[in-house]
Amino acid sequence: MADNTIKLGEYIVIQKQNYKKLHKFNKPNSVVNIGKDAVNLKGIEGNRYFSIFKMIPHGTKRNKEYKLELAEETCSLKEEITLKASGADNRNIYDDGRSQKLSAVEIDELKFDSNKASDIVETIITNSTTFHNKTEFSQEKYLKKKEKKYFEYVQILKPNLRNISEIMYKLEPNKIQGIRLDTLSQIITLSNVSCEGNHLLYDSGSNGLLAAALLGAMGSQANGKLVHMHPGNMSQKQALLAMNFETEQYNKCISVNVYSVLRQLYQGCDTNTVDKEDSTLKRKAVDDLEHDAKVSKLEDTENATSNVDIVNTGEENKLPSPKKPKWHFDNIAASEVLSNKVDSLVVASKEDPQNIFLELLPFVKPGRPFVIYYTVAEPLQSLYITLKCLSNVAALKLTCNWMRNYQILPERTHPEVMMNSSSGFLLTGYVLQ
């Protein structure tokens, strides 16, 4: 917690205006795309989080790149540009595309030559025939728009569950099964996860977001484990890695393949299959890496510390004295946790949740909560009916969330024009004896 400097090898959040980006900061001079701009991150290393950097254009006009320079403070265009005159309403404004005397090319050159956003906008305003006729409100709105376009600062933030899930949801909600912030927050509370106890998560597609959420709430001094079951060869860990957990906390999450761990649990050690599984594992791991590189826009080709691990273990297995791979021990550890039973169960599956839930239910201690997430209601409705008949759970509830953001401005407060309207459904309850 105490260390607040930007370090190589950690994930960072780059914020420009309302735009946020998650980035694994692996090379001191990596170039990231922020909107349309390529920005070289040279110089941010070692600075404190929250530092603000000015984007300085640099390179050729064709091959533009911005470099970053630590800024004392930002300023908004409204504060920099004094609005001289304004009209009472918009009656004299015609949008005939001729109000700007500068051409697009000229504006672009201006942008590239000038160092200060306010200078650019001031020049644009001076060359606009309509600006001074606009109402103060529209002038402000105009400046806000220009600010967005020419604003030349980025801020580096520390990733946390809030900004990671916001970024992932905005970027590609399907990759996290459409789990919106409010729903995510309720999964954490309704499963009653805290620094105490062992917890079980089945997750087949949230890119590590749920594991990140639960492990975060268990905290650095958690006395238990989070068993993170997934159906694939590799667990998806992007969000989990992006949290920059200390190794000790990170290791409290045991990610295991659901088949391997249950086979381990019910049938004991399945050593005879290790070799076979391991080689498929290795091949799949490589596939995953490539897949990630192509698909992930979160720039996370290197997300795979764990992937790389497994590839390496695969290699080690070819050595004369084969060492058991890490996942072998993970399976044993996880099945031990399961046989002692857990204090909560969270299921967020792409598959029908019914079988999975009923199979995992016996591992939950009586009186403990469970939370099942699904993107649409029907599978949960049918599970609801099943559970009602089995009457092995209490306080069964199917819920759905609605969330709306607001623009708050004097005299101009209203809900935001767009809202994220999909957030899935939660089926929650408590396990009975």
């Binding site: 805290s194 620094c195 905290g219 969330n401 953001n405 607001y406 708050i408």
Partner: protein, 344 residues
């Protein structure tokens, strides 16, 4: 004591949640209670399914079935969520959908120090405590002395008093106290004029900055709070509303009306037919009435001291700007520039 650790069995002094066909009741496990005359009598809890001798709960397992004189129920160990649904209301309370969002928006994890005002009925406080345990702390304030006292007693009875300090204090008039200056990772306000509390929040937050959240039912309160947050160089200010709806799940059999036979001539020509068959569905129906508004959540980040913007005080929007001088001096970082003209 049943809020502190996971437990297997019910002990005397626990608070248990009795679940009776969709109704929840919180029961304090005391074998005997005092009657009106002050005599100790057997504690019998009356339910719609008959009486429950509270003494009989002792020793039974959480999650198990309990017999009532006219039926049965189940006993659960309380969680902050179950507690919010069953606690004795001394004020309006915040419920799980908002509570969950508040915890996430405040970036709370174990180890955080969080300030809350007012304590009210302690609904949020229980969830805060669970999240910041074992090495964090909650400081909660209420200017109503009885409420502050009852809350403290409740935390003790629940076995979680060492993670929380409940104090009687008017935080808008007096702030959160000298000893909390620069201590908090997060500040949460649920009281009528949160904007006046913003400057105190700034004073209480760590120099590395922190998160702020305020819960207000009315939009006018939100507007003033947002202005105050801007004035105190908060960033990423945003306001949202969260609502949860519970769907009623049931089997439904619906009639099917066949019209296809009308295409062909046939002997009988009825004008009114009984539906020809039925079809079964499992449906989730939306309640006819549901909560339409709880409150607006306004959240913001106070950046670390070295980066806080110098306050440009706009006199007509911040009427209490003059009183801000101490806070602004704190906010006005290392290079010692003054931000309010009036300040010497």
């Amino acid at each position: 004591m049943s809020f502190r650790h996971y437990k297997e069995k019910i002990e005397e002094g626990d608070t248990v949640i009795l679940y009776l066909s969709n109704h929840l009741h919180a029961i304090e496990v005391k074998p005997e209670i005092k009657n009106k005359k002050g005599e100790l009598i057997e504690n019998v809890y009356q339910t719609t399914f008959g009486a429950l001798k509270v003494r009989n709960l002792i020793g039974s397992e959480y999650g198990s079935k309990v017999e009532l004189s006219k039926g049965w129920g189940h006993v659960l160990q309380p969680t902050p969520e179950l507690w919010s649904l069953t606690l004795p209301h001394r004020t309006q309370i915040i419920y799980t959908p908002d509570i969950s969002m508040i915890l996430l928006q405040l970036d709370l994890v174990p180890g955080c120090v969080v300030i809350e005002a007012g304590t009210g009925s302690g609904s949020l406080t229980h969830a805060l405590i669970r999240r910041i345990r074992p090495h964090g702390h909650v400081y909660t304030f209420d200017f109503h002395d009885h409420r502050a006292m009852l809350a403290q007693e409740e935390f003790e009875a629940h076995g979680i008093a060492d993670f929380v300090t409940a104090k009687h204090r008017d935080v808008l008039a007096e702030g959160f106290g000298e000893d909390l200056n620069g201590k908090a990772d997060a500040v949460f306000l649920d009281l009528p004029s949160p904007w006046t509390g913003v400057k105190h929040a700034v004073a209480a937050m760590k120099k590395e900055g922190g998160r702020f959240c305020s819960f207000s039912p009315c939009i006018e309160q939100v507007q003033r709070t947002c202005l105050a947050l801007q004035e105190h160089s908060f960033q990423d200010i945003s306001t949202m509303e969260v609502l949860q709806t519970e769907l009623k799940v049931s089997r439904r059999t619906i009639p099917v009306r066949d019209l296809s036979f009308l295409k062909h001539k046939s002997s009988n020509n009825p004008v009114e037919e009984k539906p020809s068959s039925e079809k079964n569905y499992i449906v989730g129906s939306w309640p006819a009435t549901a909560p339409g508004h709880t409150g607006y959540l306004t959240v913001a980040t106070l950046p670390p001291q070295y980066i806080r913007r110098k306050c440009k005080v706009d006199k007509d929007i911040m009427e209490d700007s003059k009183a801000d001088s101490e806070v602004d001096q704190v906010a006005d970082h290392e290079n010692g520039k003054m931000c309010i003209e009036e300040n010497p």
